[in-house]
Point group: C2
Chain length 452, copies 2
């Protein structure tokens, strides 16, 4: 595809080039623009029809956008900005250096500029920060047929015409209606008589993850955003919600794997950026395992008497970490989907205790069998009774799995209660705590049963 | 809310109850039905208006649905089924026992029944399995005004009227148009002249995760599904895609945490179900750590000479596991978002190698300092040179981080290449491999530097 287009440029077949580009979709053109030589981007961009040009601009990488903005004439920039929705303009502004932002704001009309500035002020993860202001506004006194006239007159500039918002004289949201209901209604019906008054809306400061959960639950295509006096200030559309869901999931997954959230796709981030996102947690977890080391050091004499015990440390710590990780990740996910809440903590603890007990017993039985079959010789060689050592390890397993699962399920809830993101309490974090606990249990049980 | 409704039942205020319920949204009524006593569910359900009743039924838990189906008269069941979209009926059928399925199919008309049977035959994760057949079909010869007549006549039963599909006489998909474009067009325009012919569609057997990525990329509200001869067989709507995205993410997160994917929300699953999803991986990982144990046993003499070395095993294995986990989780996520592909493996390996080198050096430097400050006394007590032991541990750190990151980033790609889900190669799996590698490196370096 790219080769074909480069060949058309080479041969100066601009008519064919123009029609080929006009047939393509904006996201595909944007992908192509990230691959072709930078000096051809502007020439290709100028061949696009106005609306497609703006749609493509929105989809491009920030680098390419920046390059184009500095290459555009004032008029070109204004044309692109006029076709764009305010939420997309805000997204682009957030990625641009100060001088580019100045240029963009200078080319927007004063009404749009004040809307942009308002949206930029909302907190990063709020509903206000992802909303747009291009919606269809209707009045309760209008008839269905007048509503259609309104949609025909203004709809071309709206992000969605499929949900329409009914406001009173003070811009309070009093109802919504859909294009489907309008189409299936008698043209003379008053909007006030057919609109849905039981409207679900969100506040500008609502967390965007909660907004996404509402879309998931109610199957909305768009949702109104209101201020403290329930005046309509904007709408959020489903396409932006899908982006929110994917970003939040990526962020949660990264945090669970002890990585700081990255802003860029994997291959776009530089080595240095990736390093900076990964090393802090590695460092912290490495230093915190000093405690585990200290525990082992303090039981050095026990270990010297029975070196065979050392061989089971990795298995015990690994099983503890995996058990705790399972519980914490399950609870973190359930919290972010809204499946569990703070008040469910006792239900969760009870369930995890039972599951841990079953897992612990199952693992202990298999481990006992395995040790008697496979590790007997090693243990005998170190001068201990294989049965006793197998009992020590198996009992430790049960106790470790129970502790790990209880710590794993309660930590995310406690951390959320304290106002932090529970995702950081996943496997690596839980593992470090569980490592220390399982070693203490191990040596305690060993000293009692093997009678050092 | 529930108390209020139970009080209304108690006082037999059915008129008020009916109007209260009619004002509520289907997902909220469904949530309430899961909480009230089972014998009141049918009485409440009978008070709902027909359409709301069907919408609520779709949102309920399978248990409640099953209870209602067995309590319904044939007519009641038929009424509910008639209001439902085929994709929702299929979802319910998949959860029901055989006798309920028989009852449901008996109450649907033969056309719907054959559509249901067709959809049930598509593979579990395919586009065909999540599509529905209620779409607006237009002909190229129609005018815009005729198209509106068609929408008004049939739209009430369609899952979406906002994207309309244009087919030729043999049901081949030849174009699409949107309600927005129709509203903004002259009523006498021919559909064939205004429709979009460059249609993005998927095959019935396409993976649903790929379908979700297409919605994310192109911001669709609906997408056509075609058979091998590009005949239109159904559509997928954005609300179902959000469900797919959330399910796929939950599944990936569970697999990454060594849990078998669960079908139910956390609190709905029984202890036994949760146990069954968690114990297999714990068992497998426990048994595979036998290798790690064997490695330690085989170096027992080394450890007996310098017990201080044991204290650093947890830190080395932990850091290795965390480093490898970071890389594998990053690559797994990038694979599922479509950010990287098989062909990028060399770019990925190069990047991970550089990041690993930087991380390894940073960690080693800090670790060396920490050991000289904190662990010096312990090492001296075991009769070794603190500097030499610190060098051994720090060198092992660098080598372990590099191995861990290379294994972590390449394993998901290899596993995907072999046709399995890469998500299973996240932290726990990588950790087990890296544990063994890091121990071998550790003892090798220790024997060389400390000269046993």
């Amino acid at each position: 595809m790219i080769d074909e287009i480069l060949a058309l440029i080479e041969n100066k077949e601009f008519v064919k080039l123009r029609s080929t580009l006009a047939e393509m979709n904006a996201p595909d053109i944007a992908l192509m623009f990230d691959e072709v030589p930078q000096d051809t981007v502007l020439r290709l961009f100028r061949l696009l029809p106005k609306e497609l040009a703006a749609d493509t601009f929105v989809e491009m990488e920030p680098d390419t956008q920046e390059h184009l903005i500095s290459a555009f004439s004032d008029k070109e920039l204004r044309d692109v900005l006029e076709e764009m929705y305010v939420d997309d303009t805000v997204d682009i502004i957030e990625e641009m250096p100060a001088n580019m932002v100045k240029r963009i704001l200078k080319q927007t009309d004063s009404e749009t500029r004040s809307a942009i500035n308002k949206i930029l002020k909302y907190p990063k993860d709020s509903a206000g920060s992802i909303m747009t202001i291009e919606y269809v506004a209707l009045k309760a006194e209008m008839t269905v047929s007048q509503a259609f006239d309104r949609i025909r007159a203004t709809g071309v500039d709206k992000e969605t015409i499929y949900t329409c918002y009914v406001m009173d004289a003070n811009r309070h949201l009093i109802g919504i209606t859909t294009a489907k209901d309008l189409l299936l209604s008698d043209p003379q019906t008053k909007i006030g008589d057919m609109m849905e008054t039981n409207v679900i809306y969100v506040d500008t400061f609502e967390d965007k993850e909660h907004v996404a959960n509402l879309f998931d639950k109610y199957d909305f295509l768009a949702m109104p955003v209101v201020d403290k006096e329930t005046r309509l200030v904007g709408i959020i559309t489903v396409d932006d919600v899908i982006d929110v869901i994917q970003e939040e999931n990526t962020e949660d997954i990264e945090k669970m794997a002890a990585i700081l959230p990255s802003e860029k796709p994997y291959l776009k981030a530089t080595v240095w950026e990736t390093f900076k996102n990964r090393v802090p947690w590695l460092m912290l977890l490495m230093l915190s395992s000093t405690f585990t080391g200290k525990i082992i050091s303090s039981f050095e004499e026990t270990l010297a008497v029975c070196v065979a015990l050392t061989a089971f440390i990795p298995m015990l710590m690994g099983t503890g970490g995996n058990s705790g990780g399972q519980s914490s990740v399950t609870v973190i996910r359930a919290l972010s989907l809204g499946d569990v809440e703070m008040k469910d903590i006792f239900k969760i603890l009870k369930k995890e205790l039972l599951v841990a007990f079953l897992c612990g017993i199952a693992l202990a039985v298999v481990n006992f069998g395995k040790m008697m079959l496979i590790d007997q010789a090693d243990i005998l060689a170190s001068g201990q009774s294989p049965v006793l050592v197998a009992v020590v390890v198996s009992l430790t397993l049960v106790a470790t799995v129970i502790c790990a699962k209880l710590v794993g399920c309660s930590l995310p809830i406690l951390v959320k209660r304290l106002g932090f993101d529970p995702a950081v309490t996943a496997s690596p974090f839980v593992t470090t705590i569980v490592d220390a606990i399982s070693l203490l249990i191990y040596f305690e049980i060993a000293m009692n049963i093997l009678q050092f």
